[in-house]
Amino acid sequence: MPLNAEHEIHRRRRSRNVGLGIVLVAFVALVFGLTVVKVQQGDMMEAFDHQPRVSVLPSEQPEPAR
């Protein structure tokens, strides 16, 4: 009997590995899709990125009087 004979246990293990692989790929697709939708909807995407945040800085030019 060759050493690389496949035991029933290997089939079970493969089903687990393939399943987890599919789950991970699906999760990546899900997060990517969510990102696209959220950006398209114009949600607040501004996060802390070590830069002064444009939206909280006082505007440089005061609004012209109407």
């Binding site: 035991h7 246990i9 079970r12 293990r13 399943g19 899900l30 969510l34």
Partner: protein, 305 residues
Amino acid sequence: MIDINAYEGTPEAEFRDFVALLKPRVMSLVVFTAFVGLWVAPVDVHPFIAFCSVLFIALGGGASGALNMWYDADIDAVMRRTQGRPIPSGRIDGSSALALGLILAGFSVMMLGLAANWFAAGFLAFTIFFYAVVYTIWLKRWTPQNIVIGGAAGAFPPMIGWACATGGISLESLLMFALVFFWTPPHFWALALFMKSDYHAAKVPMLTVTHGRPATRRHIFAYTLVLAPFAIWLGLTSVGGPVYLAASVVLNALFIHGGWQILRRSEDAAIADGYAVEKRVFKLSLNYLFLHFVALLVQNWLGAW
């Protein structure tokens, strides 16, 4: 041929064993009611966000299912109906189930917060806590009202769906909660009457064991009476309308009639015809809930009040 099995005793689970740990059949109820709750809410949600939200709610439900199977492995091993579950049958060890449950719970809450909003995520976290800790660990083995309390966990999903869309709670979502909440006891007790499960062997206090079958019949009828006004009230809110109201009145009349028949039967009569009425009412209860939520969808499509 010599076959030395070095793996004897160490479980080598398949992927579907882990799926079974998430209680896929319970999940289908969660998916459907959460979807309806989200869809009929007055705020429009992008279809992909809606899909993700329902998926993460379902995963949260699956996580609580895994935690439930981890804690209840001792009960499941005793009862015939549940002996084939992954942990009692030895395909998955308890600590793996606990780990999967905890990780999925954290994951689903985080992702629901990112996809929808953090109120809905907090609500999901509470639901998982409620099912896994309050129901499974605390009350299931302690009180014959366990079914009633467990029903609350099953009734939260439409509220979470609603919260995904609106970010809050309102009368409509509370009434959807009440619909599932008061439906659960008659549904399960009708099942308990004809599925002579060995709860006594597992020392789980079921109403049929602790208070007897005539008391269970009275409880079933009482809950169908309590359920009806809430189901119909939902039809008078902003998600209701003539189609829902008509469907609800008919379904409640049928359900109360079924409860009445169960109440009037003696145990001997039930044994004589093989629990025909109890089985019929159980099937009716499944349709009752499904059709109420279908009616909400149809009413939403036709335009609510």
